[in-house]
Amino acid sequence: MTTTTGPHPTRRLILQGAVSVALIGLGNLPFAASPARAAANDKYPEEAFKQKSEADAIKALYGRNAEPSDKVKLDAPEIAENGGVVPVSVTTTLDKVSSISFFVAENPYALAASYKFAEGTIPAVANRLKMAKSTKLVAIVEADGKLYSATKDVKVTVGGCGG
């Protein structure tokens, strides 16, 4: 467990204690759906997947904005080998992560994928996404009710000499 180096370590510990107590109460629920961890609701986020822009998609999915954080490590190629199959992965040192989502800004619909994490599932995921053209790629991690993001630019062009 990362050592807590915050200004008021004791207050943090108490806080964590309180939160975990609350969690135990909800232990049997696969998803700690308590308000403190407003994970994306369980059913398929139809609305969010319909949004064109990345900002609207984030709002539709989470309802609030994320703050960039270096605790979210987003890995994607600088030049995509092929726009149809771009390996993208995220790992994070944040804890109590309830969901991780990927947004491809330049795609017709920004939200590409959203993953829900249960208790005990390691907050990391790798997948292969499609990117229409060179684009900004945003990964958002929802941890302990707050949103953290990481961004990377991926170059995408057609291959071959054209035909």
Partner: protein, 103 residues
């Protein structure tokens, strides 16, 4: 017909690493076929991984997930021999499910 889901689950210590590759066209609905008609959208919307009766990981996918989608994640709390149940449903109501023993 062999299942459309290929999965590998290996446990080392308390952490089980899961990789899945699913055979599915993942059509976006924006692509035309050779004689110019739009191929209708056909993509997996939800992919669920259950172990010991608990959903350990759920993926909600849009049209931007690659064809023959692949996903990798790990989770704690399972051991060798436990059964992992994987199931997906797509936007046309298609679905498939399979189980795999954790190696």
């Amino acid at each position: 017909m062999a299942s459309s889901i290929r999965v590998r689950a290996n446990a080392n210590g308390d952490i089980t690493e899961v990789q899945a590759l699913i055979q599915h066209p993942m059509d976006t609905g924006l692509v035309k076929n050779p004689n110019g008609e739009l191929i209708p959208a056909h993509y997996i919307q939800e992919l669920k991984f259950e172990c010991n009766g608990k959903d350990v990981f759920v993926a909600n996918w849009g049209t931007a997930v690659s064809k023959d989608p692949y996903v990798k994640f790990s989770f704690k709390g399972a051991k060798k021999g436990d059964e992992l149940k994987i199931s997906w449903t797509d936007n046309k109501g298609g679905s498939d499910t399979t189980t795999a023993k954790i190696a």
